[in-house]
Assembly symmetry: C2
Homo-oligomer: 393 residues x 2
């Protein structure tokens, strides 16, 4: 058999996806995934929307459609971005993708030759790192503090690094850290990328899931030079099983992303895009999101409070204002992969942190998710984790 392509040396199994298989087993308490709470899915309403699509327009829903995606859904996205995020665009600059993960693959394909550099927060989303790795790139990690990316470090890196093609950031409730950039850093970021004329991806899957504190504007809303490619998704506010996200970018990038989508997949699912558009016609998605927020707030607070009460001194963790994750820093001598294995033996799953550092230097952190656990699971799971950590101290 012929050899595989060189890029396959970089493509490893995602820890999270591997863990998801174990998590399905009975008795495991999982803080590992990034799964929304399924009991909050608007099953009845979405079924009504699906039925309306099938009744009114079933033959269109089951047929091929345009690569860029169902126009009424793109119109809805444009309207909501303007109303909620002060991002002003039009449907021609929106491309539907099969979740933001596909957007990451497409941006990697668009920009990255082997050896090109992607600049990321340290830590950054594991799935983005894996998507870009397919294109044989290098990563430069920008140090972060409790307020996210340190902008002086970003400036220094861009001034001194060759072949930077992309910057990838999650300014709101970052995956994995749960951190959010304050306003000043957002302005600084825009100034820096405009100075170097670099394309930056603003990945915003969690922005709508703010349950504490004040709204902060999206980078894309302060981007007259159009260096930002914005990623949004219905995965966290409606349902991930539909696999519908979107990109907003300037005309040139959008045209190229359309060509990539044509060659890679033709289009996203017609029926899924139509059903979401119909759901947005029939129901108020912000009312739905408003039902999610207090639940996630409660779960987050219960997890954090229990961690405060049980985790040994010397263990730090973030206290997020929204999103799905908190991030735990152990004393440096503790290997989080070994700790995660020991926790799993006690029936609790977390994601070891090293996968979130593309260059792999950090071994003593892990990520915890609170959105998809009951109060009892949160209490029992955190207690077991605390016990595991104490054994490693």
């Amino acid at each position: 058999m012929a050899e595989f392509a060189k890029r396959m040396d970089n493509i490893k199994a995602s820890d999270i996806r591997q863990l998801l298989k174990i998590i399905g087993q009975p008795g495991i308490i999982s803080f590992a995934g990034g799964l929304p709470a399924p009991e909050l899915f608007p099953v009845e309403d979405f079924k009504a929307a699906l039925d309306a699509v099938m009744d009114e327009n079933g033959r269109v829903a089951l047929q091929y459609g345009a690569t860029e995606g169902w126009k009424p859904l793109r119109d809805h996205i444009v309207k909501r971005l303007a109303a909620r995020n002060d991002i002003h665009t039009d449907a021609e600059h929106v491309l539907l993708t099969a979740g933001s993960q596909q957007g990451l693959d497409f941006l990697g394909k668009l920009y990255l030759d082997p050896g090109d550099v992607v600049v990321v927060e340290s830590p950054s989303y594991l799935g983005a790192i894996n998507a870009f790795k397919q294109y044989e790139c290098k990563f430069v990690e920008v140090p972060t503090d409790e307020n996210g990316m340190i902008m002086a470090e970003l400036d220094r890196i861009l001034a001194t690094t060759e072949r930077v093609k992309l910057i990838y950031v999650i300014p709101d409730f970052q995956n994995p850290s749960g951190r959010t950039w304050p306003l000043e850093r957002r302005h600084q970021f825009i100034d820096i990328i405009n100075k170097y004329h670099i394309t930056a991806i603003e990945d915003n899957p969690y922005g709508d899931l703010r349950f504490k504190g004040e709204y902060l504007p999206a980078l894309k809303s302060m981007d007259p030079e159009e260096n930002i490619v914005y990623f949004g998704t219905f995965s966290k506010i409606l349902a991930p099983g539909l696999r519908i996200g979107w990109t907003v970018a300037n005309a040139q990038i959008t045209e190229k992303l359309n060509l990539i989508a044509q060659a890679a997949v033709l289009q996203t699912s017609t029926i899924n895009a139509m059903a979401i558009a119909k759901y947005l016609d029939m129901f108020d998605i912000d009312e739905h999101v408003a039902k999610i927020l207090p639940v996630y707030k409660h779960r987050c607070e219960l997890m954090i409070q229990t961690m405060r009460e049980t985790f040994p001194e010397g263990v730090k963790f973030t206290d997020p204002d929204g999103g799905l994750f908190t991030w735990v820093e152990l004393p440096e001598h503790i290997n989080s992969r070994k700790l995660a294995e020991a926790a799993l033996a006690k029936g609790v799953a977390v994601v070891p942190g090293d996968g979130f550092f593309p260059n792999g230097e950090n071994k003593h952190c892990f990520r915890m998710n609170y959105s998809n656990a009951t109060d009892e699971q949160l209490l029992v799971g955190v207690h077991r984790l605390a016990e595991t950590i104490r054994e490693f101290m």
Copy 2:
């Protein structure tokens, strides 16, 4: 702004996708797409399956799922492959993809470094050529006759060509030619790829759409050495808007395709896979396919008969036993791109043939689709085309 990756020089707009935009305009008779007849979609039955999924299992349907795809659907695929195609596999060797187009992208990603060679039939499916081009490969075209790929030529090419990583073929009702390989060529093909230990993709979207002649076995059914990666899809027998196809491959390739799927898109749509599985539980898809066949047979025969009556002497075309397409060869001095433009000016769309030849030497052919046209459109469209051709003779 940073420069795009080198691969973007190879990624052009698909003629077909561009044409699909024009085709939406009223009054245009389109023989250009590869669209199934939407009036044959089982809208009511599929809605019943969707409703059952939402009622019984809505929270699972809307949630993330495993990368390889909904297990009950993979079980259905395994059963149907055994019963209809004598292909014996199990669910672990099946990966769901967002249509076969995504399978093409994944296989290109798995095998192709820049400069590697893909061997294809001449002509071959334009969408496959575009998918592989993303990986900066070269193409070697194997000459074909009325029975498809000429195997002595394939043998000669494999004996003399360096860096062949993949062979891509459509043995049944090929896109664009409508041709089907006879049994002897299938056996020869297997002998040749086994001799050279080359991975071959058998793309079989149309195999179930045989409306004349005898069933011929899939290459994958005569592949004990597992050099064949088989592609199937629900797009042509159920509905393309769902974007669900599948690959069947050996364990090593399937494992790698899973990793690629994780990095590129996480998974196909959970709800769509579940709804198809439920549809297959509730209804007999072969009964549904049996309703499609006489319609396509009639449309094909009407198109071919009208072409026989109206096309000038010196114009050749295939008479397919199934699938969606016939292929027209004009006298060599006629440029099919100019002819297609002139036909469009008369309100008839066809796809110029040069896009189906990756090395672009052939300029005098075009592809016609009959599955998505009324009798009147078939009659009027072919007459107008005949008139256009006569103007070019």
